[in-house]
Symmetry: C2
Subunit: 349 residues, 2 copies
Amino acid sequence: MTRGTGPARDRDRADVVTMAHGAGGKASQALVQSVFARAFANPALDAMGDAALVDVPAGRLAFSTDSFVVSPLDFPGGCLGDLAVNGTVNDLAACGATPLALSAGFIVEEGFPRSELEHQARAMAQAAARAGVAVVTGDTKVVQRGRGDGCYVNTSGIGLVSPSALAISPAAARPGDRVLVSGPIGDHGTAVMLARGELGLEADVVSDTAALADLVQALLGAVGGAVHCLRDPTRGGVASVLNEIAASSGTAVVVNERDVPVRDGVRGVCELLGLDPLYVACEGRMLAFVSPGAAGAALEAMRAHPMGAGAADIGYVTADPAGMVLAESGFGGPRVLDMLVGDPLPRIC
Amino acid sequence: MTRGTGPARDRDRADVVTMAHGAGGKASQALVQSVFARAFANPALDAMGDAALVDVPAGRLAFSTDSFVVSPLDFPGGCLGDLAVNGTVNDLAACGATPLALSAGFIVEEGFPRSELEHQARAMAQAAARAGVAVVTGDTKVVQRGRGDGCYVNTSGIGLVSPSALAISPAAARPGDRVLVSGPIGDHGTAVMLARGELGLEADVVSDTAALADLVQALLGAVGGAVHCLRDPTRGGVASVLNEIAASSGTAVVVNERDVPVRDGVRGVCELLGLDPLYVACEGRMLAFVSPGAAGAALEAMRAHPMGAGAADIGYVTADPAGMVLAESGFGGPRVLDMLVGDPLPRIC
């Protein structure tokens, strides 16, 4: 099939991303200026150097990276652009850091609509504004049709670790700690799965994608050094993250299943599909391990924050069996919550 | 077609990357531990937090990101892994920064051989060691067959800007400055193009991929504040980068074509293909704009460094015509070197 030339084809080319947009020449520069520079405008980015310049005080930086390959690109409650900002902000927040700056690296498939790219960039800019951070540096690559899937985004971020968070680490969980979660679990994974439309299911489930750095600062402000460990339960869900922490700290974690907040819509979909919500990704929830004496105040501080209104105490840390996670349902003995095996929910972030 | 089960299939699954490796559970953790943690081992990475922790002095940080989608993954003189490290180190170097830490975000296509992933990770680790920096944090995503092209890598990096480089910027080029290049141009783009084997050409051309942070520090040590602008001419080549600098600084750049170092192999291939080496990417060259009184000492300092042995003075900055780049060949009038239009060499980095 041959394509025509002239105005119709020119319009096509202007409306979609082409290989020339990735070549580093005129078209690249025009795309960067008209889409990204416009969406993200800030002094560090506007300088358009090979890197952005960020002045920092002496201290400990958190530095994190995440690529986002979610499919579909839009889902109830959010989109690729939201996730890409919130995901990296939350990785910094899990170190007790306040984000200083983000980068954005796009891998765009030839033919991707320019309007879609603008939409995702705007969503990123809005999410960044909500999180109080700017996208200061970026990169765009274009790959041929069939070598990508519309648009992938990598974000990296740097943040300044709060003095009261310097000892926070997955290895620092200790027997007696209470395990808190900032809200209902499994919303994001369930929302994306439903948005694919392959299951013939409908339910009123909305992704929880949100930035949690401010919630973490509120928590640290309330109970400071009593927070031993923070982690956002994304891929693999709460169960996988608790396993990583149990292994890192050489402790056991016991989850009281009846205390784990799960929305009805999420519970219903998971039951139909034979999934356990404890393995379904969140994108706006934080797990906090807090010394028992401070757990009440910590829960109160989380619940007083808009991002932690649904916070709950879901379990505790004990010495044995070291490295394992157990779930107690209140009847029968505890069951072992192993790490996720296989991939029931591909490409949810 | 159905697939068998049992030992043969298990071996297949162990030898290639599967969707489960991207799910955040057991398989993900095993892949990260056996491939990436082994290749990149360092204390910041080994902590396996959501982000790496890096202690920094008060000062100005450079922060940069780049995704690498080069095809093929291996080419004479280097591979995806080398490029991914050197490219980001050089973006930091172009700000006069010494790299402090790198991140690595992999987007792997289902079915990609594990041995290939190990090879690229090892190449990254070796390139990072040569550049004196560590990969301290990372991320792995897996996409379905036909949604990627083997392996894409994003690297981001942070570096500390030298006090003598605080004023370096594409906007800081000024009339009178000499334009220096650290070695022969066009090697990388030509090597990758030949490695695709689509042109039926053979030539002894090897990529120049290399980290230049140490060369830049040597240059700054020799002539300090006399360096006004630095830039590594990757996509779009020397001509496109000079256009960006001319536009940023509101000056004109004049290139003496006979002084531009180009290897015979590169010149020959470019002549056959109708390409101008001034538009072909380098991955181990730096352009430096230096005040005229310090240009001799700057050239000497570059030539004394192993990465700058082939350095040359290729032109100068003048006031008019502002925003333009001109090439003088010595016969006839100057020709305008515009930015690259279109994409003669897709996916060279």
